[in-house]
Amino acid sequence: MRYIKLPSENFERFFKSLEAWGSVYAPVKRGGIYSFQKVHDPAEIALDYNRTMLPPKKFFFRPRDTVLRMKNGRWEENLEVEPMVLFGLHSCDIHGLKILDKVYLDEPADPYYRTRREKTVIVGISCMPDEYCFCKSLGTHFAMDGFDLFLHELPDGWLVRIGSVRGHEIAWENGELFEEVTDEDLANFKEFEEKRAKAFQKELPQEGLADMLDLAYNSPVWKKYAEICLACGNCNMVCPTCRCYEVCDRWVDAYSAVRERRYDSCFMENHGLVAGNYNFRPTRLDRFRHRYYCKSYFDPSSGYNCVGCGRCDEFCPAKIEHVKVLEEVRGSLR
């Protein structure tokens, strides 16, 4: 890892320089909600945002995506991709993308996801947790890789971590904008991280979590929450690691059709349906529990399928809290 410093006065020029790498998308505030939008002027960006509603997965795994297009009765792939710069990703979202990478880049790789991923520059930014964040307990509060550049806030600028060859190239081409990091900068960086570590209000004790949940399969807590849950699937849509999709062919006109995929949700009744109307997860309880098991599945190589971003809590219309459910389930075992 190489560390350099971007002084505050050079921020605007640095930001403008990113346009050479593709369309720049950054968090902006619209209504009461933050979202990643195309940005030209750094003044539009909400640098101190907490979380966007849709995570950055929407750029790679799109809410609605044309995979194949029919030409003369044959499918042709639809692989036009614009180069992009995603500016201002929080470390939890970078971890979220790494989990999606594991699924979508695993052989056979999804060509749409892969091409978009290859053509995208990721610039991370440091953040302060709010009442929903619990990334620290899952170890996703700091990104060691998965980005090209990562900007950490300093009193007079940004400490920049370079995480890839492309990150090096960006820094190289704008060499005059950066300075060497001083001991004072490092002290400030350390102080910021310490302050941040103390700011977390929510914690998910992960000791034995996966086993504990498995043992608590019949816990009455699942039932209690399944009754509160509206089964709207919002938590799936906003989750940075949820990736279920449904496929559908759609006729554009009498001669051409497209094969589209769309976000799907395991809260929908037809998610576990097979031929002959047999449903493997017929009740809301089954579906509710399935989501928690899926999120809490521990893969030794990529960790949990949850990064603690807090979106599912913030955007749940029934105000169900992920950590609280898991803690109650744990409590019901005692």
Binding site: R74, P108, Y293
Partner: protein, 291 residues
């Protein structure tokens, strides 16, 4: 092959045969001979059938890989897509991608006895194993225990009756259980009194002896069947590692992305399409929701 795993390849329907009032047997071959030459599969694997502009659906291959130049799919008319393919005729073209899944470990089982336990449409993937075993001759004895609703529902009836008559010569013993009585069934029962009976598939285990150290059981049928068949096998001290079963979920992508076939809990999650569709009973014991 293209790098796009969602691209399908033209396959021509060579023959359509009515098996029952609900099931048809489609014999297919890839139009492109290069694709046809490359296409190889294991018994128990499945393909995704693509009717362009209407959708895709997964179907297990029911022919044996020992029979070259074509492959067969047994398709029951149950929904929109299968209704669509049931209207198709010889010469029509569909898209195919695959094969997907792990299939049965045929090499590992060489030299052993195989007990194939099929219920209803579960006969389709097991037919691939059956003919593979007969064609290669690499297995000691093959039992096929087949449970069906009525005489009219017996899939591959000609083949089943042929094996009832001449199976012994091929080291293959077929037994049949039916639930609904009919003149045809009674006739069959009279002809093969030790092999055909009224009842359910587990009734066919009665009187059968097998060496548990040299036998594998392969099961496929409706979800309700597994519990009873597995109990029967475990009672006879067959190791859970020797019980294989092939399972069904709503496979959309077939390549472990779309998430529809995921089962399990926080300690063990499996993709039916990639980790399966063939699992052992050990897998079922360690993965909740598998059966």
């Amino acid at each position: 092959m293209s790098e796009n795993p969602y691209q399908t390849y033209d396959a021509r329907i060579l023959e359509v045969k009515d098996l029952t009032s609900r099931e048809k047997l489609f014999t297919l071959r890839f139009v492109d001979s290069k694709i046809e030459d490359k296409f190889d599969f294991r018994p128990g694997q499945f393909v995704i059938v693509d009717i362009r502009g209407f959708g895709e659906f997964p179907i297990s291959i029911c022919s044996s890989p020992t029979r070259k130049g074509y492959f067969q799919l047994c398709i029951r008319k149950v929904g929109r897509m299968t209704k669509f393919i049931h209207r198709m005729k010889e010469g029509d073209v569909v898209g195919i991608r695959g094969p997907y899944g792990n299939g049965f470990p045929m090499e590992k089982m060489e030299g052993s006895n195989l007990i194939l336990v099929a219920g209803g449409l579960g006969m389709a993937p097991l037919r691939s194993v059956l003919w593979y075993a007969i064609d290669t001759g690499k297995y000691e004895n093959v039992w096929l225990l087949y449970g069906t609703k009525a005489y009219e529902d017996i899939l591959f009836r000609d083949e089943i009756i042929h094996l009832l008559k001449h199976g012994e010569a091929m080291n293959c013993s077929v037994k049949l259980a039916y639930e609904v009585e009919s003149p045809s069934c009674i006739y069959l029962e009279q002809g093969f009194s030790d092999k055909v009976c009224k009842g359910v598939v587990t009734d066919l285990f009665r009187g059968e002896e097998f060496d548990v150290n040299n036998t594998y059981a392969l099961i496929c049928g409706p979800p309700v069947m597994y519990k009873f068949v597995i109990r029967e096998l475990l009672d006879r001290k067959l190791s859970p590692g020797r019980i294989y079963m092939t399972l069904e979920r709503r496979m959309r992508c077939g390549v472990g992305k779309c998430g529809h076939c995921v089962v399990g809990t926080s300690v063990s999650m499996k993709y039916i399409c990639q980790d399966g569709p063939v699992f052992t009973y050990w897998d079922a014991l360690s993965t909740r929701g598998l059966i």
